[in-house]
């Protein structure tokens, strides 16, 4: 025998029936086959079929052995969940690059036992079931999937997690709360910060403004759920570093100046990495603004202390009433053996109004006022207190003043209510409690008698177009001033950092706004080993911003201490949402309200106002989450898998292969039938497409083979099939999709087989039943399965009011009269088009497509499976509309052609 | 009627004698009277002079063809006298390669119905009488067609019985069985070199002698004859304890006729019942296609 046995290998693209058959046949000819399949399992569209015409074989019965033969073949290597990204070279010597998308499941360990899917809280519409049923984020497309390995759909990060300044995995803890697993939910929060309860109470929750649920009715109350996790869950974060790492890092201690949210979180993060940390706090209490800025009716001190204890539990030493001052302060720290210093002193100085009489007695800056109260110092509050400013500090001061006995509290704000930066729900609470708000008014002078404030002169303002901050510019209205009597004035117009920790000639530069200059991402200052973050660097910001700053500082310090380059290399993960059409049809469930202390109940005390969500309320609210990512990395699957096969750290990888030839078998997708409005797909519930109806028929489908129509679940007795939906149609696709006449006949037969009283009518133009035994099949459909054929192309379909039935209006060309008929269900056999991404693939492969988008075969008679490029073959529906037997023939023909091309390198090319 | 039989008997003897004259003739199998002159038994005539012992009358119950498998492969031609049911058995034996047609000299005898020695009336087995169609006999004593006999089927009719009655009937019948295996030895269809009841691995028959063991034995024996039993009822006649084995085979024959319109073993050259199938066979199992 003259054939040499080259160690050539062949690439097959697409794991449907054509690709499978080609792979087996090519392997049986001694070539090593690389079969690349985009989805997690081979099997293709045929796996979705219940039965196949004309033999009505159970599709899976004949496909499963074929899949096992292919996967088990010694010479076939499966590359599932993968795509071809590059191809270059010529016949006999192609170099291809394959992107192995990460399954987040180790194929070597996974035994397909389904424990992970049972545990997974996330449900998404199942592509395999055409969206008629849901599947979990960790899934196998269908029970008989080959390889029998699970995959996790994680296309990106949910908007809530993406917008969170600290990147807290919101979707993660929401799903865990949905499951009632509050401990695990708390653990997810503790992966980023210890402050679940704190932030859960005071966060402006930007995540909720970006929540996809907004498009349905109202966002998920994410912050309240985080708080519920803290209230009802128990979790003690531990040091993550391994013992060896801890020993190695013992010598590298870190000093942190300022025990505010930034400092504490940096300490927390560094301690978990195994570094010894000491925090120096000027004030006698720990928590910075959280402790002395936010009033305890919003954030009870025991909640804050409990979460700070978690940090201490990691070995962090916090020294209160120990300020670090002057030029020697930082130098001494280094001298005492600290290897790195973090300045997180916050912004505790109140800005002055800059108007005459400001130094009078009775004028107290908002920050000082709140701090003095928080530290327990005695404050006498005026009968009538006026607060200048529209931010949170102003509102907090107003409600604190009320609680301390002020009879009348007024907030002056120079712009209008809409521009007030304070949290809207805090402003409303203040109004509820009796605080008055005077907008478009600005103080110009403090009136005083005997050195004690008696009133304030105010001028009216009007708003002009936006100033540099994008907000409308307030302009005083000339001589519109008037006087407001008050016996206490609290300016709350901003804060600035107090930087006495830096000496005058400190090498750490400061900005003209009095903040420390530090690199925006890495928090490094100009002085080596000195870092700075938080309000001290950015000026007053929210607590969650400070948490993020703390984490970034900790990461930089960690890299600095490890001698690595200090730059953030976190990969940019895209923010993703579920497709819009998945949102239609979601039942409206309004956002959970939070029970609050009655207004009377709040008088003159600092009891917490918002009571938080109960376990039941939190779980119900968590149900509303739409799982945008969709995998939320809640790690339930990791806990459930006893083979520890789940690995969320896996990343995509690209491999290079050298092959002699490539066979393209990328199959087809269904055209979007809703494009043809007159047939009502997507609009009328009881109008479904062919493949959807196949799933309804299938014993392993969403309704176990008992067909139930979408609108009311009744089993349809009269079914209409409309052919050539989008096919043979100059507006959409001129070609005939070749298999729909037989597909409709088969489904009509099966429908009748399931329930003998089902009647089907197939509206056709030319009944194209031209294959072997096809005519007999159609005859059997008419005689034994009460299927009738009407030669007509229906004009349109409309829903019958109230019943959900569908009226089909058509002209019967044989009876030559226009008529209409009402059916329980209408099935549209829409056009079948080349699979998604075919055009780009053709460019990558360097092959041409015909005018319909199928891969063109230059000499269809002499070389039916060759493409325009030597060494590349095209088979199955990707080449032209055809049914399974023809695809299988082309697959074997491709094997023959490959052997011809690679064995003798035949000359006729 | 009597002299008609006499005439046939003489013709039989002449043909047998002529056959035995041939140099390659080994023997001629027919019947001879038993010593008490009440019944007949098979007789192997080897010399022309022995033909006078050959008889033909209404008592010729045994089936000469059932001894042919034993002679398979022996030298010389074998003559055999066969009435209707024996001929059907012969066709089955040839089909089953138990004897080669070219070694046989087949004498067809048109039987007008046998007589049951106990009752004197026409034997109940003849109620089923059906002759084979276009079988190539070497010689015949007359037209080999099914005689039109109106014979009552022997009672009891199992199908008319209720389940309990049938169960009691068989318990009482099978209690009598002493497992002497006479029914297997007499039957033309039992030609297996080693019967499964004699096997040790797997040990099918447990020989515990209880009802279970007997039901197994008789069910398996009857099943092995499904579509092969010609209805000669020799098994019942040979049974020393008078167990009504023929009812089992009859029920199977009726059922084969009703379900597959299978007329009977050895009537035509059509493939036997259980050696083939038809896609149009009835599907009485629920959930079947039809």
């Amino acid at each position: 025998m003259t054939t040499a046995r080259p160690s050539e290998s062949v690439l097959v693209l697409g794991g449907g029936i054509a690709g499978l058959q080609a792979a087996v046949d090519i392997a049986n000819l001694g070539f090593h086959v690389h079969l690349v399949e985009r989805t997690p399992s081979i099997g293709g569209r045929m796996a979705q079929l219940d039965k196949t015409f004309p033999t009505n074989d159970c599709s899976m019965c004949i496909l499963a052995p074929k899949m096992m033969e292919c996967a088990g073949h010694d010479l076939v290597t499966l590359h599932t969940y993968s795509d071809l990204t590059r191809l270059e070279g010529r016949l006999g010597a192609f170099r291809v690059e394959i992107l192995h998308r990460s399954r987040f499941v180790d194929a070597g360990k996974c035994t397909g036992c389904d424990d992970c899917a049972i545990a997974c809280p996330v449900e998404v519409p199942s592509e395999f079931e055409m969206g008629l049923a849901n599947r979990k984020a960790v899934y196998k497309p269908f029970p008989q999937a080959v390889p029998n390995v699970y995959a996790i759909t994680k296309t990106g990060v949910a908007p809530c997690r993406d917008t969170c300044p600290a990147g807290v995995n919101a979707q993660g803890y929401i799903q865990l709360v949905k499951l009632g697993k509050f401990d695990e939910a708390l653990e997810v929060v503790h992966n980023t910060m210890p402050f679940a309860g704190t932030i859960g109470r005071i966060c402006p929750h930007p995540c909720e403004t970006d929540c996809t649920r907004l498009d349905v009715e109202s966002p998920v109350s994410i912050c309240a759920i985080k708080r519920a996790a803290a209230d009802h869950g128990k979790h003690i974060p531990e040091v993550e570093a391994t013992p060896q790492e801890r020993v190695k890092r013992a010598g590298k201690s870190v000093a942190i100046v300022g025990a505010g949210p930034a400092g504490i979180n940096a300490a927390y993060s560094l301690a978990r990495k195994g570094y010894p940390v000491t925090v120096f706090e000027k004030l006698p209490v720990v928590g910075g603004m959280l402790r002395v800025g936010v009033p305890s009716y919003r954030l009870p001190w025991d909640v804050l202390d409990r979460e700070i204890d978690l940090v201490k539990n990691l070995g962090v030493k916090i020294k209160t009433s120990s300020p670090i001052n002057g030029p020697s302060g930082i130098r001494n720290l280094f001298k005492n053996g600290f290897k790195a210093v973090l300045l997180s002193v916050g912004a505790h100085a109140s800005l002055k109004l800059g108007i005459p009489g400001e130094k009078r007695k009775g004028v107290v800056g908002a920050v000082d006022f709140l701090r003095r109260h928080a530290l327990g110092k005695k404050i006498t509050v005026g009968k009538h207190t006026v607060i200048v400013g529209g931010g949170n500090a102003a509102v907090d001061s107003s409600r604190t003043a009320l609680r301390l006995g002020a009879r009348k509290v007024t907030i002056l704000y120079r712009r209008s209510r809409a521009e007030m930066p304070a949290l809207s729900w805090e402003v409303e609470a203040a109004l509820e409690e009796g605080v008055e708000i005077m907008t478009l008014a600005a103080p110009i002078a403090v009136l005083a008698k005997k050195g004690k404030v008696t009133g304030i002169e105010v001028i009216r303002m009007r708003l002009e177009d936006a100033d540099s901050s994008g907000r409308p510019r307030p302009v005083p209205i000339p001589d519109s001033n008037y006087v407001i009597n008050c016996d206490m004035l609290i300016p709350a117009i901003g804060q600035a950092p107090i930087l006495d920790c830096l000496g005058p000639r400190s090498r750490v530069k400061t900005s003209r706004w009095g903040t420390i200059v530090a690199h925006e991402k890495t928090c490094a200052t100009d002085q080596k080993g000195v870092f700075a973050c938080g309000d001290a660097v950015t000026g007053p910001a929210t607590a969650i911003d400070a948490v993020d700053a703390g984490n970034r500082a900790a990461e930089s310090i960690h890299r600095f201490l490890q001698g690595k380059p200090i730059k953030s290399t976190a990969p940019q993960i895209p923010c993703v949402r579920p497709p819009a059409e998945d949102l239609s049809g979601i039942p409206i469930v309004d956002r959970a309200g939070m029970s609050e202390l009655s207004v009377r109940g709040r008088r003159r005390n600092f009891k917490e106002v918002e009571k938080g969500l109960s376990v039941k309320e939190a779980r119900a609210e968590a149900e509303r989450c739409l799982n945008c990512a969709p995998c939320c990395e809640c790690m339930e699957c990791v806990r459930a898998c006893q083979a520890n096969a789940v690995d969320h750290g896996m990343i995509d990888e690209t491999i290079t292969l050298h092959v002699g030839a490539c066979v393209v078998a990328t199959g087809f997708d269904m055209m979007d039938a809703s494009i043809i409005e007159e047939y009502g797909a997507g609009r009328i519930p009881n109008v479904v497409t062919g493949l959807e109806f196949e799933r309804l028929l299938s014993a392993s489908g969403p309704c176990g083979g008992h067909v139930r129509r979408p609108s009311d679940g009744r089993s349809p007795k009269k079914i209409a099939f409309i052919q050539c939906v989008g096919s043979r149609d100059l507006r959409n696709h001129e070609y005939c999709s070749a298999v729909c006449c037989m597909h409709a006949t088969k489904e009509a037969i099966l429908a009748n087989e399931h329930e003998r009283d089902v009647r089907s009518t197939i509206f056709y133009m030319d009944l194209r039943a031209a294959g072997k035994n096809f005519q007999t099949y159609v005859a059997r459909a008419k005689d034994q399965y009460s299927v009738s054929y009407v030669r007509a192309r229906p004009g349109f379909v409309e829903e019958v009011e109230g019943t959900g039935d569908v009226r089909v209006v058509y002209e019967d060309t044989e009876l030559r009269k226009k008529t209409d008929e009402v059916f329980d269900l209408v099935v549209l056999c829409q056009a079948m088009i080349p699979s998604e991404g075919s055009t780009q693939l053709a460019e990558t492969l360097g092959i041409e497509l015909d005018e319909h988008g199928f891969i063109s075969t230059p000499s269809p008679l002499a070389a039916p499976v060759d493409t325009t490029r030597p060494g590349l073959l095209a088979i199955g529906y990707a080449a032209s509309p055809q049914d399974i037997p023809d695809s299988v023939v082309q697959a074997s023909a491709a094997a023959g052609r490959v052997a011809e091309l690679l064995r003798r390198g035949s000359s006729d090319e | 009627m009597r002299d008609q039989l006499k005439g046939m008997q003489t013709r039989l003897r002449e043909i047998a004698a002529a056959f035995l004259e041939r140099p390659d003739a080994l023997c001629f199998i027919g019947w001879e009277m038993t010593p008490d002159e009440k019944e007949t038994r098979p007789f192997f005539a080897r010399k022309p002079r022995q033909v006078k012992r050959l008889v033909w009358n209404e008592m010729c119950h045994p089936n000469p063809a059932s001894y042919l498998p034993g002679l398979r492969g022996s030298e010389g031609m074998i003559g055999v006298a066969v009435k209707g049911c024996d001929a059907r058995a012969l066709r089955e034996l040839i089909r089953a390669n138990q004897i080669e047609r070219k070694n046989l000299f087949v004498l067809g005898i048109p039987c007008a119905g046998l007589v049951d020695p106990n009752t004197g009336a026409i034997a109940s087995r003849c109620s089923e009488c059906q002759y084979p169609v276009d079988l190539d006999y070497d010689e015949t004593l007359g037209p080999m067609e099914t005689p039109d006999l109106t014979v009552e089927r022997s009672a009891p009719d199992l199908d008319a019985m209720s389940l309990q009655q049938r169960r009691a009937f068989w318990k009482q019948e099978l209690d009598k069985c002493i497992r002497c295996d006479a029914c297997r030895k007499i039957c033309y269809g039992c030609y297996c070199p080693e019967c499964i009841f004699e096997m040790s691995d797997p040990k099918w028959a447990t020989n515990r002698g209880d009802l279970a063991d007997k039901i197994f034995y008789h069910a398996v024996r009857a099943y092995h004859l499904a579509g092969r039993c010609v209805g000669c009822d020799e098994c019942a006649r040979a049974c020393p304890m008078g167990v009504r084995l023929d009812l089992l085979n009859r029920s199977l024959r009726d059922h084969a006729k009703e379900m597959f319109s299978f007329d009977g073993a050895g009537i035509t050259d059509e493939k036997p019942l259980l050696r083939t199938f038809s896609t149009e066979d009835p599907d009485p199992f629920f959930g079947g296609d039809k």
Partner: protein
């Protein structure tokens, strides 16, 4: 015979009914635990003598499962089983066994629900019938 738990033998063919049983398992269809499944390559491999032996050696019922006619991996196996089944069923009824002691049925690889339903109905039917009349009359025959 409410507390009677029948012991039932099921022969399933590798390509269709055994796969149907697997599918029932994968879909977690719950079934009474009375059946024991033995795998054969084709339903035509099941020997009628084995069925009779089972029914007389203490098993209460036998179910032979195959592919739907026309689906057989060996093209003709189930047709042969069907004809044998009809004859054996008649023989057993003639000898006093209740009709449903021996059943033949067709289950395809995807019909998990059907396998479960067939098993459930079969067990209920046999439970109603009570133990096999052969096993309850374990008297000693006349012949040791």
């Amino acid at each position: 015979m409410s507390d009677f738990e029948p012991k039932i033998l099921v022969f399933a063919c590798n390509w269709c009914s055994y796969a149907g049983a697997d599918m029932a398992g994968v879909s977690r269809y719950q079934m009474p635990p009375n059946c024991r499944v033995i795998r054969v390559m084709c339903s035509a491999r099941v020997r009628p003598e084995q069925v009779i032996s089972a029914l007389t050696q203490g098993l209460d019922a036998v179910l032979v499962l195959g592919c739907h006619p026309g689906d057989c991996h060996y093209t003709e196996g189930n047709y042969i089983t069907r004809r044998r089944g009809i004859m054996l069923k008649n023989l057993l009824e003639t000898m006093g066994f209740e009709k449903s002691r021996f059943q033949v049925n067709w289950v395809s690889a995807a019909e998990g629900a059907r396998f479960a339903q067939v098993v459930r109905e079969f067990v209920e039917e046999i439970k109603a019938l009570g133990p096999s009349h052969v096993s309850t009359e374990k008297d000693t025959g006349t012949h040791a």
